[in-house]
Amino acid sequence: MEKMPHWADIVLIPLISLFLAAILSALVILAIGENPWAAFKLMVDGALMRSSGWGYTLYYATNFMFTGLAVAVAFHARMFNIGGEGQAMLGGLGVAYVCLFIPWPHWSLALIGASLGAAMFGALWALIPAYLQAKRGSHIVITTIMFNFIAAAVLNYFLVNVLRPPRSMDPATKTFPDATHLPSFRDMFSTAETIMFRGAPANVTFFIALAACVLVWFLIWRTKLGYEIRAFGHSESGAKYAGISPVRITVISMLISGALAGLMSVNTTMGESERLVLNSTEGAGFIGIAVALMGRSHPFGVFLAAILFGFLYQGGAELALWTNIPRELIVVIQALVILFTGALDNMVRMPLEKLFLALRKKGDA
């Protein structure tokens, strides 16, 4: 028998966690002498009340959807892929090579090419830890996190020594050719009279992220492979007994995970900066972990959690622009939300379970 109804598990717990995080954040803001209500209003105004604010919120959300899905897929096979960051970095390299060295006739073809490049580079970067886990038993948490550092060094090497244009200080590639320019929300939704999403970086990649959510849902719950991944995740010995190869599932689910993380770079590198910069991932690979935890590894949950984190990022930027709240404290606020929704899940869950059990007993009596 379930301890509490399903809706409480997926709706009530995240909401209460969020509420607690909001209270603590308010106290933090109050402690440095700013008005928490004004700060909250500024965040909402800046992130959700203007179309350009939405443009930023959805841009960040696109990143988090990809990395959240990457972590979620690995979760289903009971693997903790902390390497989303590194896989996304390598994905960026894939995007850069595809965009710079292939003369694309049209953005739609370039988008397909860049997506394939990003997914392939990301997947290959995840393949090595996956192989080590499957064949050698090296723990995937350790190897993926170490591969983040290797990825940073590899990217660094390519940007500083190979791809940087002469006379430039910035370790970044040159700007991609115009033909690879992805339509931004502004290009897509503006009419002659009103300009929507002015200056915002959200672009067509958002719809790829949505499609990825649907595809991951289909893969996990509607295909044989997805069934095998879930079976393997629930019990390795059970899966083995049923004739599912642990090596195969480990490698395949990590390849999918790495490919999803790599796809994030299409958004940042091709969609936003239109050149590969050194820290294009900016921790989105790690945020993906919180997004997957909060979204309960379900694509729809990941979608909602990604929007929430997108709001926090864009709202945080608004705070930095118009208040004297130092950026360190903005990180504190973002971290509190991650802490409560991701890590302190049981703190809310246990009292709630008790409450529901008590209510049920009363109901039975």
Binding site: A38, A172, T175, G199, V331
Partner: protein, 334 residues
């Protein structure tokens, strides 16, 4: 008072979000953060001095993410801020992209480089090699071991440019001098890694260096600290860092980012744009610091020689080779 401030702050925030235009200047700090005791802090000091002298205020932001570069530029431009000043070469590309959309707003970028400067952008560059040449001379004159050190931040042409001027200055005083040069890293993290700066200093001391020049932003704090602890001399950069360890910092290579920011804010809407502004010794854009903290370390002879070289550079009699000329340094291999 604080309550009043808070209310005014809230009112200002409301006014800005309502889209009211007012011609305040805006200052955007790079990801390194504004209190690095060096480059960004110099910009902040310049802005604070302007605000104090004219009783005005300015908008500012410390960035958290790459995507915020364009965002901050656009939002400040839309709010009517003029000029919008950015610190660091990483802003060159975003400024180049945003500037044409806001023809009435003037943008300033310090340290950046663009192939073509838009008509409403001013690029400010400094002749760091000239200032570094002078502190290189001082280092060579102060060194007893005949070995001087250079610790750069991120390994980019700009920092090699610093190191190259330094090496030329040191070699001018003592052609046999040994120069030990290290870079902290190849990523922007190298601007803020005092622990690594400290380790590199110890390594250079082990190789015989008794004067080290740190051109490394926040990393330099670790270099200066270790040099002071180990009893050797150090040279600060960008801001005047002599006071950090009084009597143990030989001098500081001043890069007057503060003056550049101050002037840009003072000129306000009448700022000259559409090209490069190069600030060298002649414009007091670079120089070396002499104050009560290091006067005991600088002999009259040192002062005389360095000022002579300074005058010669300004007059054009002495040419310090820029690293950029052919992407290499004539006297030292970086």
């Amino acid at each position: 008072m604080t309550l009043m401030k808070k209310l005014l702050g809230a009112a200002a925030a409301v006014a800005v979000t309502a889209g009211t235009a007012f011609a305040e200047p805006a200052l955007i700090f790079d990801l390194g953060g504004k209190f690095d005791k060096s480059f960004n802090e110099a910009a902040f000091n310049g802005a604070t001095r302007w605000a104090g002298e004219f009783g005005k205020s300015f908008l500012e932001i410390e960035l958290q993410s790459e995507a915020q570069r364009e965002q901050a530029l656009r939002r400040f431009a839309e709010a009517g801020a003029n000029p919008v000043i950015t610190t660091g070469f990483a802003f060159a590309t975003p400024v180049e992209a945003v500037a044409p959309d806001y023809p009435d707003t003037k943008f300033v970028n310090i340290d950046g480089w663009m192939p073509e400067v838009p008509p409403n952008v001013q690029l400010i560059n400094f002749q760091e090699h000239q200032g570094s040449y002078l502190v290189g001379m001082l280092a060579a004159m102060a060194s007893k071991t005949g070995t001087v050190g250079f610790i750069g931040g991120m390994d980019i042409p700009l920092i090699r440019h610093f190191g190259c001027g330094y090496a030329q200055g040191a070699k001018a005083v003592n052609p046999d001098i040994k120069i030990v040069a290290n870079m902290t890293g190849t990523t922007p993290a190298a601007w803020n890694d005092p622990v690594k700066g400290s380790e590199l200093t110890k390594a250079q001391i082990a190789q015989g260096a008794d004067v080290v020049y740190a051109a490394a932003g926040g990393t330099g704090v670790g270099v200066l600290q270790t040099a002071a602890d180990e009893g050797i001399l150090s040279i600060g950069v960008d801001s005047n860092q002599n006071h950090l360890h009084s009597g143990k910092v030989l001098t500081s290579m001043l890069k007057r980012v503060d003056v550049a920011v101050y002037n840009a804010m003072k000129d306000g809407e009448n700022l000259d744009t559409g090209g490069f502004t190069t600030l060298g010794l002649a414009e007091d854009g670079v120089g070396w610091a002499l104050d009560e903290h290091n006067e005991s370390l600088i002999s009259a002879e040192m002062k005389r020689d360095v000022n002579k070289a300074r005058d010669a550079i300004i007059a054009g009699d002495l040419e310090v080779t820029a690293y950029y000329t052919n992407d290499s340094c004539p006297v030292h291999e970086f």
